[in-house]
Amino acid sequence: MNKQLSIEQLKQHVFDGMSIMVGGFMAVGTPEGIVDALLEMNVKDLTLICNDAGLPEKGIGKLINNGQVKTLIASHIGLNPRAGELMGSGEMEVILVPQGTLAERIRSGGAGLGGVLTPTGLGTIVEEGKQILNIQGKDYLLELPLRADLAILYGTEVDTFGNIVYTKTTRNFNPLMATATDKVIVEARDIVEYINPDHVMTPHIFVDYIIKEAK
């Protein structure tokens, strides 16, 4: 099964109004080549799920600042001032989720769970509209699973099967998102012949397509 995709073929997999999970933390571990392609295709009304709003010239900041994002689900938007402006003016809906809750909502979306119970956010505006359950004498918020149409990830080493190794702090949300979407496309820094099976961080069964990063 050949999973390699050219950046031009990416067109077949994206459409206006779709939801996309984007790996990366302050754009570290974000597939910049795929983001640039989405920018060029100018797909619109996207719902993006990402740790943050990127930076103005980096990561999903480029898509936000180009007006392609209808809804952003993230934990932090502070490094991209335009995201705050668009949120303030109502041009972009921003749903802020505590970072650990975002991770677990994605994980539960990919792991077949009905959500997670977390103490994070109790007594704050995060709890508004959510169910509080008392378990063994302690209160928890019920946080629901998150899924999306597509995940775009950044792998450091990807073999031709689609097994992924992430290096250093580029890993962050990437392996979680790999499990939680209908389709997964990874941008590979290097496509390699062999990865030690013990070192695989995302099993290839999750990965649909591999795009080689342009150097």
Binding site: F25, M26, A27, V28, N51, D52, L55, A74, S75, H76, I77, G78, L79, G84, M87, G88, V94, L96, P98, Q99, G100, T101, L102, A103, E104, R107, T118, P119, T120, G121, L122, G123, T124, I125, V126, T156, Y166, T167, K168, T169, T170, R171, N172, F173, N174, P175, L176, M201
Partner: protein, 219 residues
């Protein structure tokens, strides 16, 4: 005292709170300075919520852009350090495996609630990992200037949207060290550049003052 001197004093005092082997998460800004003052006989494991333990100093050259802190800035890793994904990172944080977290704050109140993630209509950066950190860490230390240019930050009740309820254990400012207990805020140590009266005047909440020690700022 100028603001730089204040921040250094606060960071130096916070650094005395750690025990050898502690897992510690330092917030962005003033809390980051604490790493410069760790006593020589104490080794701590610095955790960064983007996915590592073993955070080292900011590199001067040979920068590796794949190693970053939670602000996205390049950092280094010390011997024995390791990387992990965001679910593991927050299992460490929320699961009670972080001994101490040090954060800045806009407001703290006498019930140990804090507000540091949003000023409605003005500043909406988002909570990032702060809500999880203060909820999950065993000890929460707030490191901040005592007032915002004279405006009270240590309050009877926070007025800004909360980051978490009843989670703060210790507040360290340029004026002193305060512990939140069930009956309110106890002034444990004070900086003798200030009188106790001046410290109370700079604090909206009523401080419980019972023979406080002089703030320990020895190197």
């Amino acid at each position: 005292m100028d603001i730089t001197a204040m921040k250094h004093l606060i960071a130096k005092r916070v650094a005395k709170e750690f025990k050898d082997g502690d897992v510690v998460n330092l917030g962005i800004g003033l809390p980051t300075l604490v790493a410069n003052f760790i006593p020589n006989d104490v080794t701590i494991n610095l955790q960064s919520e983007n996915g590592l333990i073993g955070l080292g100093p900011v590199p001067q050259d040979n920068i590796d852009y794949d190693i970053t802190n939670a602000g996205g800035q390049p950092v280094t890793m010390v011997n024995g350090g390791m990387y992990f994904d965001s679910a593991m990172s927050f299992a460490i944080i929320r699961g009670g495996h972080v001994d101490v977290t040090v954060l800045g704050s806009l407001q703290v109140d006498e019930s140990g609630s804090l507000a540091n993630w949003i000023i409605p209509g003005k500043m909406v950066p988002g909570m990032g990992g702060a809500m999880d950190l203060v909820t999950g860490a065993k000890k929460v230390i707030i490191a901040m200037t005592h007032t915002n240019k004279g405006k009270h930050k240590i309050l009877k009740k926070c007025t800004l949207p909360l980051t978490a309820k009843h989670q703060v254990n210790l507040i360290v400012t340029e004026m002193g060290v305060m512990e939140i207990q069930d009956d309110g805020i106890h002034l444990l140590e004070y900086n003798n550049e200030f009188t106790l009266e001046e410290i109370q005047d700079a604090t909206e909440a009523k401080l419980i003052i019972n023979q406080p020690k002089i703030m320990d700022l020895e190197e």
